[in-house]
Amino acid sequence: MSTVTTVVIPTRSPMRRLWYAGPVLVVLLVLPWVADQYQTILLAYGLVMAIAALGFNLLLGYTGLLSFGHSAYFGVGAYAVALMVKYLGVTSMELHLLGAIVASVLVTAIFGVACVRYTRIFFGILTMALSQVLWSLAFKFFWVTGGTDGLRVPTPTLLGVVTGKGDKIAFLAHAYYYYVLAVFLVCVAVMWVIVNSPFGRALQAIRDNETRAQFIGIPIWRYRWVAFMLSGVFTGVAGALWVPLNGLTTPDILHWTFSGKIVFMAVLGGFRTFVGPIVGAVVYNYLESYAVGYTVYWQLFLGVILVVLVLSLPTGIVGTAERLMARRRAPRYPQGGHK
């Protein structure tokens, strides 16, 4: 081979796209001091769902697999916490997160073996069917799961010192909000490294062309399985963080309609971008919360808004924003692709 003097390195270096992260982080950090408690708790819910959507999008956006069963892993995380409280009396949030991670690894490892051999609609239906199995278990085994009454989860202890004894709302709007924010930031950082790692690129290769990926030596099923587990673990962590906010876990979060919400969040934000699902989750959470407060026909109201948003922004909120920004400068990439 000839000696080459100029090495082309990818110019889409994701670091350069983080310029907007600073101001956003400042807003997230000061919010509990400037906004009321309701707003802060609402954003905490949004950040929790953002972790779930981030995990979900490792499969949809990066591996090309549309899961309709992510409620299962969210629910596994939530119920792992609830059952740890009920049977073991554990109140430490760190142990809750650990328990949720272990439980979601176990469940996704088993479900993944069944699912990753399939793609497209077959994968979607299989993931949905498996999540419905967990939903029916939570629904029927009421002596363990509390059935439709669910399981109550008291406020946990954070880092072994901060407790929610006393004003629960103040705890959720300050200490717990910062705890959620910290876990969210760690999840974003880890996921960002994963999607930009050689493994992340290999997942994108599988998404784009399974046959070619196989013929450069990538073990398709094994990598999909690992992606499936990672995706489920992120969603499981979200489930664990959600329980103390909600104070209760019920089978609703295992139902396939909850999976649909996660899918919608990713699509709304733009599943072809890294931050799309995060933005989608936060926006969806606000839309749903305000729609519920605005009218009893909130599902109809929300449905119409979402249909209009998806039709007018087919690449999602972030996808559209990036396209508008790209119009102002010379396009480096013709179309599509992860930014």
Binding site: S2, S13, G200, D208, T211
Partner: protein
Amino acid sequence: MSVLLETKAVVKQFGEFRAVDRVDFRVQEGEVLALIGSNGAGKTTLVNLISGLLTADGGQILFRGQDVTKQPVKERIRAGIARSFQLVNLFDQLSALDNVALAIFSRQGKTRRLLTLADADRPVWAEATEVLSLFRLDTKARTLAGGLSQGERKLLDVAIAYALKPRLLFLDEPTSGVGTREKAPIMDTIVSIVRSEGISAAIIEHDMDVVFSYSDRIVAMHQGTILADGTPDQIRRDERVLTTLIGTPEPPR
């Protein structure tokens, strides 16, 4: 020259139809071989069997003396068998550079790495850049594969296979779907690279000008069997090839 690849009575059956019928096929070290035959002759099926896309129903495939008949694709790639595709198979939403870099990451066993940044691995990007310039695609490094012209896509498909550092490269119709004027530059580029690197190449091709210009040896297939095997001069004069495949008693110019 020693034998690099050998198939012994290899068979592939699709229902009642025997696409490859007890074929004994050989590729020597360092040669450029052309595999010709009409549509349905079994050329691509034979390549699919050797590369591992299909599993043989009978017979044996030996690569450098090792039996690879039942080995998965990954093992065959590791042994040194790579291929391009008739219908170009690229990672369309990734840049040309990413396409080649992925093959290098995979060859080096680095795609398992979850917590390191791909962009930070400068040696891989340096090698990918080098491969792209060899294939005259350096100016397209940052273009998404989906946005390349058909000729460039064909070259990139071969470049990905080349980046795996194979000893034997199968090229399934590397000039199909490209304009007549583009064919010679594409073949010149590919053949000069494989010859200078000492890689054996087996090219499936329908264009007889390409076949006779670039190959050391030609294997003609018909109805799942090998009809003729010889140098371009021998094949040019082979009555069976002329009447069965080329359809004219006149030898091609």
